[in-house]
């Protein structure tokens, strides 16, 4: 009896994974389909990838995305790590917890319109810089969450030991604390980068007009909404591949983060 229900459960799990991955695999398969449409397989082709790499709007959107992701990740990682250390070693309070958690809870559309309103109020011109400013907001929350988890998982008496052995606070921070939380910091950075690369709504609202500040997700949205072309499949496959690779490395760096 137990075995039969276990078999049922295993079957369910397999079906679940199928449900999760078939759409993704279909997209990947289609990206190599000469016809580009799901109706019929007309043969293997890299045509769509080729078209992708020669389409200027796509290339510039990709470049913009990278710039935004890189800068916002660097800023978020630095500020977020400092913040996490500060909160865990000094100022633990539930008010702070709420503030730090908020960016992950507020619906992105609400955050997007809030930021747009704010920038408009300040009469600020919009562009890649306004996207970066906005992305740092949720990236910080993410880095803080990851680094805080790391900080709770090591023996804090090594910090006291360092002080006892004569190290200044800064030396303790640099030589003992940072190495101890390094995996968390790196994982947080990688995950932040991924989030930023994929983020659509906030970018859409805060980018302003103009091709010069279009990011890849914005480009993808336009392509989906206003005319599905087969290049999207190729794009989708590449973007997924990049994301998966980043997450793979993030998990290798800090296994504990994923056992939350």
């Amino acid at each position: 009896m137990r075995d039969r229900s276990n078999m049922g459960l295993k079957l369910h799990l397999v079906l679940f994974y199928t449900f999760l991955y078939v759409p993704i695999l279909v997209l990947m398969a289609l990206s190599f389909n000469r016809a580009g449409l799901p109706t019929v397989w007309t043969g293997f082709s890299l045509e769509w990838y080729g078209k992708l790499f020669t389409a200027d709007p796509i290339l510039s959107a990709a470049r913009n995305t990278l710039i935004v992701a890189l800068i916002s990740t660097v800023l978020a990682t630095i500020f977020g790590t400092l913040l996490a250390v500060g909160v865990e070693t000094r100022h633990n309070s539930s008010v702070l917890d709420a503030v730090l958690f908020a960016p992950m809870i507020i619906p992105d559309i609400v955050l997007a319109i809030a930021l747009l309103s704010f920038f408009t109020l300040l009469n600020m011109t919009l562009g890649l810089h306004s996207i970066i400013l906005s992305h740092v907001v949720f990236n910080i929350a993410f880095v803080v969450a990851v680094v805080r988890t790391r900080m709770r998982n090591f023996d804090h008496s090594i910090l006291e030991a360092s002080a006892d052995l004569g190290a200044s606070e800064f030396t303790t921070f640099r030589r003992i604390l940072l190495p101890a939380i390094a995996p968390g910091v790196i994982a947080g950075a990688l995950l932040s980068f991924t989030l930023s690369v994929d983020e659509f709504i906030i970018a859409f609202f805060t980018a302003g007009a103009g091709q010069s500040s279009t990011t890849l997700p914005m480009q993808i949205y336009a392509m989906i909404r206003f005319g599905v072309t087969p290049e999207i499949n190729a794009m989708a496959t590449i973007v997924m591949f990049v994301s998966f690779t980043l997450v793979f490395f993030a998990q290798r760096t800090d296994k504990e983060v994923f056992s939350r």
Binding site: P23, P38, G86, I105, L111, E169, R225, V239, F258
Partner: protein, 284 residues
């Protein structure tokens, strides 16, 4: 270096950023809800409650309700799919479990738009599902699977079920195996052990996952936009419209307030339940 200075260095930049670029903007739109719409869009600084009144108009209430209904269905379906999946994972050999979990969460790390787009490909009239069904002779005409409530729910379930799996897995994992063994020792058959010993202990995980899915679904914009074909309005689309087409920022702000209020209410309720559950378990 004084303690105070150290605190400022550590907490200053991060908190400052969040304060300036999250707290202030959110506070700003909170105030917008109380103002009137300007003639060419923008804000007329005339204090009014009109927006709140308007938000309770049956038209808009209908949209809120529809969003809630869709979110609720999504949540139920997600839980029904996730629970057996999470359970199956706990039965797998220990060393596989992390890998299995990563496989569950991996799709989440691809682009949300692309994941949603994949369902356009799957569900459209010439899409994979229709092709397969027609090819197998099960239907003659392609089914209209896209640009309706069904598609939106499929999209939402697809995107958020992994979270529920993780939440339920986490709470299944915490169960003391000996309670299950005790139940068997005292004579309970498998199903009874499940619904009287295992299930109750996983309620916090179900609640956490469920609230998470509901909250993310009700405020969702992309899925109803792409899979609903732009005709189907949920709260997220409504807010988007108010800001970009209708240019009625105050009203958009008001709707956002309502949305946040619903979410906070749910999260608060869930936190209270979680606290009580933790209290009953002793310590955690």
């Amino acid at each position: 270096m004084t303690n105070r200075l150290k605190s400022v260095i550590l907490l200053g930049p991060g908190l400052g950023w969040l304060a300036l670029l999250m707290v202030v903007p959110c506070g700003l739109i909170f105030t917008y809800a109380f103002f009137e719409r300007g003639i060419y869009g923008g804000i007329d600084h005339v204090f009014t409650f009109e927006n709140f009144v308007r938000a309770t108009d049956p038209l808009y209430l209908g949209i809120f309700l529809r969003s809630a209904k869709i979110a609720f269905l999504t949540t139920i379906i997600a839980i029904l799919i996730a629970y057996p999946a999470a359970y199956a994972i706990t039965l797998a050999p220990r060393r596989w479990q992390t890998g299995l979990l990563i496989l569950v969460i991996l799709p989440f790390w691809s682009n949300y738009l692309i994941r949603t787009y994949a369902w356009i490909v799957m569900l459209n009239r010439e899409g994979l599902i229709n092709n397969t069904l027609q090819g197998a002779g099960l239907i003659d005409e392609p089914l209209s699977l896209l640009y309706n409530n069904f598609a939106v729910i499929v999209g939402l379930v697809y995107n958020y079920t992994p979270f529920v799996v993780l939440a339920i897995y986490s709470s299944l994992n915490r169960i003391n195996v000996e309670t299950i063994e005790a139940s068997e020792d005292l004579g309970a058959p498998a199903w009874t052990t499940f619904h009287r010993v295992i299930l109750p202990q996983t309620v916090p995980g179900i609640a956490a996952g469920g609230v998470f899915v509901f909250v993310l679904s009700i405020g969702n914009f992309i899925t109803p936009d792409l899979l609903g074909g732009g005709r189907l309005q949920m709260v997220g689309n409504l807010i988007y419209d108010q800001f970009l087409s209708a240019r009625d920022w105050p009203f958009g702000a008001t709707l956002s307030m309502f949305l946040i209020a619903i979410m906070m209410g749910l999260l608060f309720a869930q936190a209270v339940l979680a606290n009580r559950a933790a209290g009953q378990r002793g310590q955690d």
